[in-house]
Symmetry: C2
Subunit: 454 residues, 2 copies
């Protein structure tokens, strides 16, 4: 499958071969084309996985595949209000889909997680779809696509799904475990950062794309009302640096009333403050992984922090502190492959309790502290946005040394990412696309504006 005498051409070739067609037109990419393992659901097109490939196609002027993808995935969105739970909620988009051939007909079969292991809900799909729609119209200037009644309705439904109040008292979004890239149980239920950052980003995209007309009036108002408190909440309550750590360390528990300092009743004994006070760089900081009553999950999750930088959810100063943390904790967060999905890994009883003894998520493997090359493009984009090309260059260089020879593996294991992932597939499309995209962003920094906000 790989043409080994041309290391430059290979990844493009593989990306080309991953494209799937619907009535002879390119529509998306399969998750992986590893000839040595059973496809399971890796022969499907995942909305989340297609994003870096789509951005590469946009940069290369192959905008049709992205347009076709956006139009057809929109048709898979749940459109009817559900009162009997037999389908997921209105506005939701599938995790993945497959082109089914039936005699002369073809159709798309959506998977909302009902085929996935453990049956988790793909909450992030609709948020990534918003991300991509906005990138498409910025790249092509075809605003008219986003302004069609169908697209406007699709955006409205996503916004309604996310903005409706139900059981929550915060501006953040309550989700079940495994609702995003980490799609297995990993203690990221409740209000995980990744979902909140993607949600904030989706609100900003919707703000740009929704027309100012009577039909959108309520939803425009609702999203404007939400955006500021959501940003304030995340920038304040999720932020951790030495100063915040000092405050949390001295929190009093059991405060009662509306104007308490320790609003979430965090007991400082539950914070790994001894480790953190050593680990946190003086000029560093980051958004923590999760927050709830008596819960502050201090793990560093890369995707959420990087999307927070791109969407300008964090301030300029906070963005710089996050990049400082990555730079100063290079061995922990980058190591031999950019970059760690989360740090540190859950170990011992924590692993047993929070993953349910999941053998795939053993400490420093897969989602539990593995290194994921797909995160490279987000790291590069965030670094370029804040004028830190040296981080981007160094990360790309590390990835370039290993990815082709390791045949574009899905993930790496080990504390420093030195092992090819125990169950990793090779020729993983988003590994290839993420790498190509990272390099393209270095050469085409004007494209940054498609995927970032000021």
């Amino acid at each position: 499958m790989v043409n080994s005498d041309s290391p430059i051409k290979d990844p493009w070739q593989i990306l080309e071969e991953s494209i799937i067609y619907y009535y002879d037109r390119p529509l998306g990419t399969v998750a992986a084309c590893d000839p040595n393992t059973a496809p399971l659901n890796y022969d499907q097109c995942f909305i989340r996985d297609f994003v870096p490939a789509a951005l590469v196609f946009l940069i290369k002027g192959k905008t049709d595949i992205v347009r076709y993808f956006l139009v057809h995935t929109l048709k898979l969105q749940i459109k009817e209000r559900q009162l009997d739970f037999l389908e997921p909620g209105r506005g939701l988009m599938p995790a993945s889909f497959k082109v089914i051939h039936e005699e002369r007909e073809q159709y798309l079969k959506a998977d909302f997680g009902d085929h996935a292991i453990g049956r988790v809900t793909p909450v992030d799909s609709c948020l990534w779809w918003m991300f991509l729609l906005r990138a498409y119209v910025k790249a092509t200037e075809e605003y008219s696509l986003a302004h069609t009644p169908e697209m406007q309705k699709g955006i409205r439904l996503i916004m309604e799904l996310c903005l409706s109040a139900r059981f929550d008292m915060y501006p953040t979004l309550l989700v079940p475990d495994g609702a995003c890239m980490i799609d297995r149980r990993m203690g990221i239920n409740g209000h995980p950062l990744e979902i909140q950052a993607l949600f904030y980003n989706a609100l900003r995209c919707a703000q740009e794309l929704l027309l100012d007309n009577p039909e959108n009036e309520k939803i425009n108002q609702a999203l404007n009302n939400r955006l500021t408190p959501l940003g304030v909440h995340l920038r304040h309550h999720y932020w951790l640096d030495l100063e915040r750590l000092n405050i949390i360390y001295r929190y009093k528990g059991e405060e009662y009333g509306e104007n308490v300092l320790n609003q979430f009743n965090i007991y400082s004994d539950s914070i790994p403050y001894a480790d953190l006070s050593e680990w946190l760089p003086a000029n560093g900081g980051y958004l923590v992984g999760n927050l709830g009553p008596s819960q502050l999950d201090c793990r560093f999750f890369s995707l959420g922090n990087l999307v927070a930088i791109l969407s300008a959810l964090v301030t300029q100063k906070q963005a710089e502190a996050i990049l400082n943390t990555i730079e100063k904790k290079w061995n922990d967060l980058i190591g031999f492959m950019p970059m760690k999905i989360c740090f540190p890994a859950l170990k011992d009883r924590d692993w047993q309790l929070l993953t349910g003894c999941d053998p795939k998520n053993r400490p420093w493997s897969y989602h539990n502290g593995g290194n994921w090359p797909v995160l490279l493009w987000l790291l590069v984009a965030a670094s370029l946005k804040h004028n830190r090309p040296e981080i981007a260059e160094k990360a790309i260089e590390i990835a370039a040394q290993r990815l082709p020879q390791d045949e574009w593996t899905e993930y790496y294991d080990g504390k420093n990412g030195r092992l090819v992932g125990k169950e990793a597939r090779k020729y993983q499309t988003w590994t290839i696309a993420g790498f190509l995209l990272a390099r393209e962003l270095m050469d085409n920094s004007q494209c940054l504006s498609w995927i970032s906000h000021n």
Copy 2:
């Protein structure tokens, strides 16, 4: 405050003194009247706490206070659809309320959890309200109250809140941590049994109370569609006995596809099977505490199991198995005070991780394995329903020996419930009301039909 020369009269007197008034009419009861501690929010009327007192009043023919409570709490329900999260979702009812006097005016101030420690959402309030409304109309035969347009709308809003699909793939209800009687972090986020049992019960109440008219058509259909799959799901996936334990013990992980046996991808290493295989009585069984992807929380939660018996969520055979478990594991589940809120307690790292080092919820204290006398009435009702008066009698006898002398304390600590709760209030209204109700149910078994379903 207690008239100590009349042990029979005392509790009635205290109950009487706990009543709060709104424009001179009795409206509810305060949570506790302990003269020795600061009231904090114990001077409020909690919807959840008022239920046993209300049932006592109904049995005693003091139906006005219950009627007035139902009418006025309905007015506190969130009625407007919220898109900006600034208030909780439409249909939700407050945790508690207080009568505020302002010169000549009075008004009710609702608390949706924004004053509570840790700011948890009181999801169970609207479900208990449904429970009480149905008990009221069964007791008084005043069906016309439930049939007023306001009440019908209130029921519809509760049903819409609970039945709308959002991020979930199951018939159960996704809630944040601390959304019920256990209102602090205790690893009961996601799909805890207590909420699911109350939800099932509320659906059955709504089925009886909602009129068959065009306005209710959609919601009637939705609730009928939901009830059966919810029951099947809970009776099957939440049920644990020796036979099920054997099946789960031999589960294969990582099964992929729609028709897998291990649908939730539970790894049997995560189940405390060594303890359970000793502990489970041969003719016993119970509904487990929680279920999610790679998660089966095998703790025994009393309230959920007892409500499951009353609402006929479980089969006759399962109900008997639950009562067998209580009888055979008397020391663990009843001990010196009926009854344990959950068993066993979270200890060591489990306590640290799942409660966030909550000192109030130390092992065998408060929510974490404390004994709560308020559960007595539910135990008595469930036992009488399945013709096991000996369980009821024995439990009441134990409670009667200690409650008056311990001044109607809120909860007990210790593995067998021998210690008065470390931070327990005395003269806790629902302790008194629960005890009186348990005794009244023994003498008035016809009242069981108000609170149970066949």
